[in-house]
């Protein structure tokens, strides 16, 4: 994982990728998260992505837009994305800001996120990176 010193960790669970944000991210770190995720979706042929943003201090227009972009890029590569862990105060500010994660599915927490994906995308055993 090339996302630097533990700002974000990306774990694989069969054909799903689970990205956990551990702290506030600045814009370039958000972009790095996007790039890492999209790269790994291709490398591991993932069909489901969960992004856990519970530790994010805010989701401003850039953060929300970046999440929406990740979901769209993942979709184009055949993976469904669900965002989990948006805190109530963060959600409130997003609504006031006039910014949603428009069209990106969300779930309360990791468990519900997994349930959401399981109901829609068959989780298959991992085949490992291409060229293994």
């Amino acid at each position: 994982m090339s996302s630097g010193p533990a700002l974000v960790s990306i774990l694989r669970q069969d054909s799903y990728l689970i990205a956990s944000v551990h702290t506030a991210l600045d814009d370039s770190e958000m972009i790095r998260l996007r790039n890492n995720l999209v790269e790994q979706i291709g490398r591991y042929r993932s069909n489901g992505v969960i992004i856990d943003v519970a530790a994010l201090d805010v989701l401003d227009s850039f953060g929300a837009k970046t999440l929406a972009t990740i979901a769209e890029m993942a979709r184009l590569r055949g993976a469904l994305t669900v965002i989990v862990g948006i805190q109530p105060d963060v959600a409130f500010a997003m609504v006031q800001l006039g910014m949603g994660t428009a069209g990106v599915p969300t779930a309360l927490d990791l468990e519900e996120g997994l349930a959401y994906l399981n109901a829609r995308v068959p989780r298959r055993p991992v085949r490992g990176p291409l060229g293994d």
Binding site: A24, D27, D57, V58, S61, L97, G98, M99
Partner: protein, 390 residues
């Protein structure tokens, strides 16, 4: 995905002829003493007034003594910069006397080729930012000045400053211990620090105050108490008392007024996070809900990003307001290209089309008060406030 905006090269602040003045004149701060000025946007000319009318006065003083010296303009600039730094801490009636005594100080230092004031300013800054907790890093002389200064405080003030600065006890804990409120503790802390700054300067410079009024005047300046400054006619005192005039510069020209204010320089992505976290931290000393704190942090994030994207460089000042109501005020300044049509920039559709994103209209919706002052080619100042409704 925000389209990469064409960002014109940012003018790097230098000692070039008066770039800072053009930036700072659009700041809405100086013209008002209480409350937001509803007319600030249209009335940016009024806000320009306090500093521009000082320029000829300062020029006259400096040029009268330096003649055609090529350094004269630098000294005028230095004087005006110092006045601008102090502008929201002094009463409007004091601007002119303060500018005059500052010009004299700047000239005196120039002739002496001495750096004493700069040193003092640095010290005052250390006290304000790091507190005496970092006194281990100070030289022995400074350390003993600090010890002397602390000994001049009342028992109660000293205990408070030491608990907060040295032991790191937060205001909420201190308040709980004393059966007080965090706001009251913060206010007392800020008065104690205002006293400490004066005592420290006096001890460090081995200065005796010549008149009985001096200490009260210096305290009103150090505490940025404009009403008290008027009561004491501090303006006149500064013109008559050399010692106070000398001390006023390091007292006023510091980066941080008090515990109630923090300034974050903005130029790169990481500064956006620093600014919003600083705003949240400071605002949390009032009784804002978690939701309100996140709202404030989000608004700061938006305007900080605007600076990084469109101006390249600027600063955000977060300040707690106590009167007339408790709240947090955020002033974001840049010296960027400015916005030609501010009304349009605050309109959603326009902003999105023109790459401004949700920044300005979004921040406006998040806060209770919002003012945008911009002069094309000169810079933009956003002033926004969230009131503490609890």
């Amino acid at each position: 995905m925000p389209p990469p905006a064409a960002v014109p090269p940012t003018p790097v602040p230098t000692a070039a002829p008066l770039p800072d003045v053009s930036e700072l004149t659009v700041a809405p701060g100086p013209a008002r003493s209480d409350g937001p000025d509803p007319d600030a946007r249209a009335g940016s000319r009024a806000a320009t007034e306090p500093i521009t009318h000082l320029i000829p006065i300062v020029r006259r003083i400096v040029h009268a003594r330096l003649g055609g010296d090529p350094l004269a303009d630098d000294l005028v600039q230095e004087t005006l910069t110092r006045v601008m730094t102090a502008i929201d801490r002094i009463d409007a009636s004091m601007l002119e006397p303060y500018a005059i005594s500052t010009a004299r100080n700047v000239l005196a230092n120039h002739w002496r080729g001495q750096d004493r004031e700069r040193r003092n300013q640095h010290r005052a800054l250390e006290i304000a930012i790091d507190g005496p907790s970092d006194s281990a890093l100070l030289a022995g002389e400074d350390r003993s000045a600090m010890a002397t200064a602390l000994s001049k405080l009342s028992e109660r003030d000293r205990a408070l400053v030491l608990a907060h600065e040295v032991s790191g006890v937060d205001t909420a804990t201190l308040a709980a211990r004393d059966g007080s409120t965090p706001g009251a503790v913060a206010a007392q802390l800020s008065r104690a620090r205002a006293k400490l700054r004066i005592e420290y300067l006096l001890a460090a410079e081995h200065v005796e105050l010549p008149t009985p009024q001096c200490r009260a005047v210096l305290l009103a300046l150090s505490a940025a108490d404009r009403r008290r400054q008027r009561q004491l006619d501090a303006a006149r005192h500064l013109l008559q008392c050399n010692v106070c005039a000398q001390l006023s510069t390091p007292l006023l020209a510091r980066g941080k007024t008090s515990d109630d204010q923090i300034t974050v320089g903005i130029s790169v992505d990481a500064d956006i996070v620093t600014a919003r976290q600083a705003a949240r931290e400071l605002a949390s000393r009032l009784s804002f809900s978690a939701t309100a704190l996140t709202t404030i942090a989000t608004a700061v994030s938006e305007i900080a990003r605007n600076i990084v994207r469109f101006a390249g460089q600027g600063e955000i000042v977060v300040e707690l307001l106590r009167r007339p109501r408790a709240g947090v005020q955020i002033v974001a300044r840049d010296a960027g290209p400015g916005i030609v049509d501010t009304q349009a920039a605050l309109t959603e559709g326009y902003s999105t089309y023109h790459g401004l994103g949700l920044g300005l209209p979004g921040a406006r919706r998040l806060m209770d008060e919002f003012q945008l002052v911009s002069e094309p080619g000169r810079g933009t100042t956003v002033t926004m406030t969230k009131w503490d409704s609890r």
